[in-house]
């Protein structure tokens, strides 16, 4: 009974933490080996090894995207400062504040989001410019979808972080003003930017690796 549960857990891990076109075949092979008399320990070793190998390959595939997203999101304070210097963020809300509630609040919210979103989208376009060899895979529909994904991801992750920060009395709004360079809030604001940019790039440029070739006949 205990052994069956252990195998079931390993199989669940295998199903949810391995990737690639041959996942089903790999799962089938391991089941076949287990039925032919292999031990539960052997099965666990194989499962953990398959997960590790898969994770390593996946991270290697996305390493450049990950590094670029991370580096770009770290530049956000400079972008925010530049935005504040040219006074765009101050001009718009002042005009919008004159509009009656609740529209003024909504418009102020949009004014806060615009620089963040522009920053993420600029990062995406810069990445696309830096990888011209990948542009042939990108269709306008895919590009629009990736922009939309970045926006949604940004909202979801930011909401999650706000919920997390709320009990401690911290807010992301403070980041844009005084303590922009060196605190926990900076990291907190970089996380949604990083995730948003990474998801946009990963969706815009999926890794296509198939290479067709004729099998040897006979």
């Amino acid at each position: 009974m205990k052994q069956a549960k252990s195998v079931a857990l390993a199989s669940w891990l295998l199903k949810h933490f391995t990737f690639g076109p041959h996942r089903e075949a790999l799962t089938g092979d391991l089941s076949e080996e287990l039925h032919s008399g292999r031990t539960t320990n052997w099965y666990w070793r194989q499962v953990l090894s398959a997960i590790a190998v898969g994770a390593l390959r996946k991270s290697r595939d996305y390493l450049l995207t990950l590094l670029f997203s991370l580096a770009w999101s770290m530049l956000y304070p400079a972008w925010r400062l530049a935005f504040t210097r040219i006074n765009l963020t101050h001009l718009l809300p002042q005009r919008w504040a004159a509009i009656d509630l609740p529209y003024s609040t909504g418009l102020q919210g949009i004014a806060e989001i615009i620089p963040v979103l522009l920053f993420v989208w600029l990062g995406l376009f810069l990445y696309l410019i830096l990888r011209p060899e990948k542009l042939s895979d990108l269709s306008p529909v895919r590009l629009l979808a990736s922009l939309s994904i970045s926006l949604n991801t940004l909202f979801i992750v930011t909401a999650g972080i706000l919920l997390y920060l709320k009990p401690s009395g911290n807010g992301l709004g403070d980041v844009s003003s005084q303590n922009l360079h060196s605190n926990f809030q900076l990291i907190a604001i970089c996380i949604p930017l990083f995730v948003s940019l990474f998801s946009a790039i990963a969706f815009a440029l999926p890794i296509s690796r198939r290479h067709s070739s004729a099998p040897l006949s006979g």
Binding site: H22, L30, Q46, S212, S213, P215
Partner: protein, 115 residues
């Protein structure tokens, strides 16, 4: 010559072993016999995950091709995936063999001389 070098796909040790095992197994080349055969030849257990990772690499390079086979109850109803070498794969194996043979021939034959 340079064009040939650019077009040629160089094989890693494990990839070459896999290609030779696929050739050896013929129509029976799927995950289980492949990893068993490799384990016997290498004298130690082989991670099936690593075997599939290498098979995926070889397929991307166009050196092998795969197709789904039958499923059995022992496999939880999952189909077997059979692998076959392509013309390009066979060319690559032959080329690697030629280069390795040349290299071995250029070395002294006895262990003492090698050391």
């Amino acid at each position: 010559m340079m064009e040939d070098m650019r077009e040629h796909t160089y094989l890693g040790e494990f990839e070459l072993m896999l290609l030779l095992t696929i050739l050896h197994l013929g129509d029976e080349a799927y995950g289980v016999p492949l990893s068993r055969e490799l384990a016997i030849l290498r004298g130690r257990d082989v991670s099936i995950g690593s075997v599939y990772a290498a098979l995926d690499r070889l397929e991307i390079k166009g050196l092998i091709t795969s197709s789904l086979g039958e499923s059995t109850p022992e496999r939880g109803g999952r189909a077997k995936r059979y692998f076959r070498i392509t013309r390009q794969g066979l060319k690559s194996v032959t080329e690697t063999r030629r280069v390795l043979s040349k290299l071995w021939k250029s070395l002294p034959s006895s262990k003492e001389e090698l050391a």
